[in-house]
């Protein structure tokens, strides 16, 4: 059913959908890269910084583009006009993941930012590991959201 809907999607929905999907892909890529760089840093300050800056400069902009696109496509498709209980499950999963993901990402960036500052004194790797754990959690939740957006469970 979802694929049949995809075929009949109005053309004017395509660009907002493209923005939403591209932002989500950049978010997932930024989370994977940032978390991996910190995970394999083994205390190396350069790799820890690379991981943190990837979360800040790739994952965060990715979330902003994804969220902007989500609001845009949601308005275009008319989901905003429906009461919350009338919206399909997959939309609910999307919002349930997107908003806490922003909060978690900000917490991760704050912890990581303090960690990066402390690297100058030879400290801070613990805070960056905490930022990494949060990034893995967001990544796992984001993949559930991708599954829901694509498979559209009801």
């Amino acid at each position: 059913m979802s694929t049949l809907l995809a075929v009949s999607r109005p053309t004017e929905w395509n660009f907002p959908l493209f923005v939403h999907v591209l932002g989500a892909m950049i978010l997932v890529g930024g989370l994977l890269t940032g978390a991996s760089a910190i995970a394999f840093a083994r205390g190396n300050a350069r790799m820890l910084r690379l991981g943190y800056w990837t979360l800040l400069a790739v994952a965060l902009p990715g979330w902003i583009v994804m969220f902007g696109g989500a609001n845009w496509i949601s308005a275009k498709e008319g989901w905003d006009d429906l009461p919350e209980e009338a919206q399909p499950t997959w939309i609910g999963i999307g919002w349930t993941v997107a908003l806490p993901a922003a909060l978690l990402l900000l917490i991760s960036l704050i912890l990581g930012g303090i960690g990066v500052r402390r690297l100058r004194d030879g400290k801070g790797s613990g805070l960056l590991k905490a930022a990494m754990v949060i990034a893995w959690i967001i990544l796992a939740a984001a993949l559930v959201a991708v599954w829901a957006m694509a498979g559209k469970p009801d």
Partner: protein
């Protein structure tokens, strides 16, 4: 969810893995341009493996699940213009991606040779290899092709 819905979800998840891998390699391409020591280059190896796994899942998953959907879902046919375009672009992306890998593996190989020879300091030769222009161009081309696949998947020209 129907079986085809599951396959579609896996197809899209594979596409995310593919782009995540490309993003990861963009970060490494930028990072390695300032890396002139064997240790700094070799340290990126585990992250490269994560990127390779992600790209591998993406390349394999998009084609296998995509072809399944082309045959299984009503309204789509394997000879549809947008599906043929996607298959051609997929092959081009795989080829340019493989070429990118060859270019950047040279830096990793050189770093291992230098370390084996006991040369742990900065190396202008290693830096030059890590700054491969051909590798950068191939990765940019590969990224552009994958972007075109995404556009093709959303707009579905001719569908």
């Amino acid at each position: 969810m129907s079986f085809d819905d599951w396959i579609l979800a896996l197809h899209v998840l594979s596409a995310f893995a593919y782009v995540a891998g490309i993003v990861l390699f963009w970060v490494l391409v930028v990072a390695v341009r300032k890396t002139d020591t064997p240790d700094g280059t070799i340290r990126m190896s585990p992250v490269v493996k994560v990127g390779n796994a992600s790209i591998g899942i993406g390349v394999g998953g998009t084609i296998v699940f995509g072809i399944w959907l082309a045959f299984s879902v009503g309204g789509y046919d394997i000879w549809d213009l947008w599906i043929i375009a996607a298959l051609v672009l997929w092959a081009l992306a795989a080829a340019t991606g493989q070429r990118t890998g060859v270019e950047y593996t040279a830096g990793m190989t050189k770093a291992q040779e230098l370390r084996a020879a006991g040369q742990d300091g900065a190396s202008a030769e290693l830096l030059a290899i890590n700054r491969t222009q051909r590798g950068l161009q191939m990765h940019a081309l590969s990224s552009l092709i994958v972007l075109l696949i995404l556009i093709d998947m959303i707009w579905k020209p001719g569908a």
